[in-house]
Amino acid sequence: MSALPRHPEDIDPELWRASHLAAGFDRVVLCGHAALAAELPGGGWLAGALTELLTPQPGCGELHLLQPALATVGSRPLLLLQPPHRLQPAGLAWLGVPAGQACALRAPRTADALWAAEQILRAGTCGALLFWQSEVRQEALRRLHLAAQASDILLFLFRPLAAAQATSPAPLRLALRAARGGIEVTFVKRRGPQRDEPVFVPLMPSPALLSRYATLDRRTSAAPRPRGVSPALVDATP
């Protein structure tokens, strides 16, 4: 009986205790935000898995959130499939996302987009694939996830917030919402305990250059030194 393993991860890296975050992933790209990394299984974005990001609209800071990870895999090409608007290379450069090898793909039909995603994952030559698709059937999602597992590509699927109600085979699903000075991340699904309150991730540099309030210096001032006269001196005086 004493031979029972202490941690479920010792039995199989795919096993984890429901009250803890899953660990034991070997292909993790650091997410670059300490507050978020503490709450993500594996401590970062998983390469070779489908990650769903649910956004209320494009432009709530979703690319900004991914910037450290995209910069990490920046030596390999970045592919953007079905972007919702035209990407501005200067905007990517301002964020710090290497745009030199970025490729934007547009597909006339959903089937073409899914086919392209699968081909990209199977070739495994790019560093990250960002995929915007509002309507995805569940078997297509499962297929994407299986294709992602065979590669070491960071795969992010952007879907509207309403898709949070539908089930999905993705191991990590996050809902994003813009917040003042950063972004709020809600965990819809993760390999770990349920967490209801969102995590606030500050995003720097912020495009807001003016602030309604004066910047608050939070450093505490030095401890006041006692200004009294030393008792020895008092004694010395006649």
Partner: protein, 458 residues
């Protein structure tokens, strides 16, 4: 299958109907009225064998077309490259199956012995001693010089090739001539073999007639795959890589003759890999509408380059080589269209809609990075959205509040698209940042300046 009004080949269903080889057409139709009878076409058969020979050029440049639809390939110099005789044999079998024909594969140290095995039942004999053993199983009629004397050998009780070898040589030579003894000597390695290897044409162009009229372009893929196998065999034998090829679909001739449909494929990265070419062609064929049913396919290699030596780096690069990525891009372009696969090619211009330029992957231009350091949104709307005003403030869902000083962008007088705008970063009530601009109006304009939404901070 008939040749000179005699059955020469038949399938299992015909056999169970009682048809045997040598029967006449009338007999066949009496036994099986619904039988499909075809005349044997020797030229097409020869073309097919020639195609297989070209496909086998993958493995060795020494390929020869032997008699009776046998292709001999000397692989002794290619064994190490393909990892030994067994993997090589498996690859050759896969190639032949991909070509769409059935074949008997045989391996032997001499060409004549391999020919004999292939004509009888196939098999592997790696040494001359195992050839000796295997010859005991080869029936005598498989040896062409022995066929005229079949009855005589039958009377002697010789059933296999080995039985004939044990007869006295002098007597055999006297009665059957030298051809039989020569063939036996060549098979056992006692006499040298001389072959005229297949000559490779300087340019590749192959044509294949389709078995039926084909209405859908995808159905041509099977025939096109055969041609591509031939072409890649030719390429690898000549150490070349293909950069551009044309697949032509010939339509029915007649009163309404239609010029052939040409599908031209240009490759960014010259390749000689068959699977990549087939996938590329499959995507291209999926988008082609045929004007008329096709009856034949022709494949022409238009532009070939010297092939690069295969990379021999010890550690394979993670994520594949740049060639792999180029192949992926070609595949995506073939399916999605060139205008849908774009890469960033920024222009040094202050107008954001000009600076954010995306070009098709194939085009190469000098990229001029724009001035950086200023907050720029990641997303740019294709056409600016005019914002409604509420209480002298632009309104987009919620009232927008400006959180940056104005940045004036005024330019474009040189190409007639003059813009004079003041750009602001605006924040909405739900903390989303927008990039908005206000039109600059002159003093003589009496209307209010209008506000537009132009970008989103992703």
């Amino acid at each position: 299958m008939l040749e000179k009004d005699r059955v020469v080949a038949l399938d299992r269903a015909a056999l169970s109907a009682g048809i045997v080889a040598g029967m006449r057409r009338g007999g066949v139709l009496t036994l099986a009225p619904g039988a499909v009878i075809r005349e044997r076409d020797l030229t097409r058969e020869a073309e097919l064998v020639r195609g297989v020979a070209f496909a086998l050029l993958h493995f060795t440049p020494h390929v020869v077309l032997a008699e009776e639809a046998v292709v001999l390939a000397d692989v002794s110099a290619s064994l190490r490259l393909f990892g030994g005789i067994r993997p090589l044999r498996r690859l050759a079998r896969e190639t032949v199956i991909a070509f769409g024909v059935t074949a008997t594969l045989a391996v032997a140290p001499t060409g004549q012995a391999a020919w004999l095995f292939a004509r009888s039942s196939g098999g592997i004999a790696l040494t001359l001693r195992s050839v000796d053993r295997a010859l005991r199983r080869v029936p005598l009629p498989a040896l062409p010089p022995a066929r005229p004397y079949a009855e005589w050998f039958d009377g002697l009780g010789c059933e296999t090739v080995d039985d004939v070898r044990r007869l006295p040589r002098a007597g055999l030579k006297k009665r059957c001539g030298t051809a039989l003894l020569d063939a036996l000597d060549r098979a056992t390695g006692a006499a040298p073999e001389v072959y005229e290897w297949l000559e490779m044409p300087p340019a590749f162009s192959a044509r294949l007639e389709l078995p039926d009229r084909i209405e859908h372009a995808e159905a041509v893929l099977f025939a096109a795959r055969r041609l591509i196998l031939q072409m890649t065999g030719w390429l690898s034998a000549r150490h070349l890589a293909i950069a551009r090829f044309v697949l032509e679909l010939e339509h029915e001739r007649g009163r309404a003759a239609v010029p052939p449909t040409a599908i031209e494929a240009a490759l960014a990265e010259p390749t000689s890999r068959e699977d990549h070419l087939v996938r590329l062609l499959k995507e291209r064929l999926g988008r082609v509408e045929l004007a008329a049913p096709g009856i034949a396919v022709r494949l022409d290699a238009k532009d070939v380059r010297e092939a690069d030596a295969p990379s021999e780096s010890l550690f394979p690069e993670p994520g594949g080589s740049p060639q792999d990525h180029a192949r992926l891009m070609e595949l995506l372009v073939a399916r999605l269209g060139a205008q849908n696969v774009t890469r960033a090619a920024p222009v040094a211009d202050h107008r954001p809609e000009v600076a954010a330029r995306w070009l098709p992957v194939g085009e190469t231009v000098r990229s001029m990075p724009p001035p950086s350091g200023l907050p720029r949104p990641t997303w740019l709307l294709d056409s600016p959205v005019q914002l409604i005003m509420r209480g002298h403030r632009p309104f987009y869902g919620t009232p927008l509040r400006m959180v940056s000083p104005a940045e004036r962008i005024e330019g474009g007088w040189q190409d007639g698209h003059l813009v004079t705008r003041d750009y602001f970063v605006a924040e909405s009530g739900d903390a989303v940042h927008y990039w908005v601009f206000r039109e600059c109006t002159g003093a003589r304009d009496d209307r209010e300046p209008r506000w537009f939404l132009h970008g989103l901070f992703g």
